[in-house]
């Protein structure tokens, strides 16, 4: 398994949806606002309860331990179905 960046990418998708653009059209790197390694490490904590709030240009993002993503207070999507990338 490689580092699980699924949650980071889900946040990118959520922000793109809020901006009404494609994920590759966001004009910044999310890494400038939240350490993706930290997000991966949090995702790997199975039985912990946590919530992380951070700011990106124009939006406040909250990510919770059960995989919920909130942009400006609105629930965007669950990430329960996100699986770590498996090595082939």
């Amino acid at each position: 398994m490689t580092r699980n960046n699924a949650l980071t990418l889900a946040v990118v998708d959520a922000l793109a949806a809020a901006e009404h653009c494609a994920p590759q059209e966001l004009d910044y790197s999310i890494h400038e606002y939240v350490d993706s390694d930290a997000l991966s490490a949090l995702t790997a904590m199975e039985r912990a309860t946590w919530e992380l709030t951070f700011q990106v240009p124009g939006h406040e993002v909250i990510v919770t331990g059960d995989g919920q993503i909130y942009v400006d207070g609105d629930l965007v999507q669950g990430t329960d179905d996100l699986q770590p990338y498996e090595l082939q």
């Binding site: 490689t2 980071t8 990418l9 590759q24 790197s29 890494h31 993706s36 390694d37 082939q88």
Partner: protein, 166 residues
């Protein structure tokens, strides 16, 4: 040896910031000063560079990009996501594209290992590139010694292993 009566630190700020520990010792009627050879700050910086290099290489697409840049001429810009797509993983290009922009390229750039541009997406060697390249090179040179759990299924390492066994 002898009784340390005073211990202090000397900080040199030119040409590079470095710090040495000095000790004034008394032994019999003689007193002398010792100074540690390698300064604490230099050591700390060196250890931080190792940590940064290993953190930077802690993802397959990042390792693949470093290898691709090693194999290309020094000043060549490589197109992405192709240059970062590991043959043993083969990620979906759209996913890899997003992951590169939002995770991998900023990590490598922060470490000084690469420079990159977004339109069109490409990368070239950064000022500290040699740090990552030398680590990968050492691994390749010893591909034969690596445990199977690290080398089996990795096309790069298996190619190096075969070359060593010729």
């Amino acid at each position: 040896m002898g009784l340390v009566v005073a211990r202090g630190e000397l900080v040199f700020s030119w040409p590079t910031v470095s710090k040495s520990t000095i000790e004034i010792c008394v032994l019999g009627n003689n007193s002398y000063v010792t100074m540690t050879g390698t300064s604490t700050l230099d050591k700390r910086e060196m250890i931080e560079r190792w940590d940064t290099v290993f953190r930077s290489l802690a993802a397959e697409p990042r390792r693949q990009l470093v290898v691709s840049l090693m194999e290309a001429p020094q000043d060549r810009e490589l197109s992405l996501p192709e240059a970062a797509n590991p043959p043993s993983l083969l990620m979906e290009p759209a996913t890899l594209y997003s992951e590169l922009i939002h995770v991998h390229l900023p990590v490598l750039e922060d470490a000084g290992l690469i420079e990159w541009e977004r339109e069109p997406l490409c990368a070239r060697r950064g000022p500290q590139f040699a740090e990552a390249a030398s680590v990968i090179e050492s691994i390749h040179a010893n591909a034969d010694e690596l445990p199977r759990s690290l080398s089996e299924g990795c096309q790069r390492l298996e190619a190096h292993r075969q070359r060593q066994n010729l």
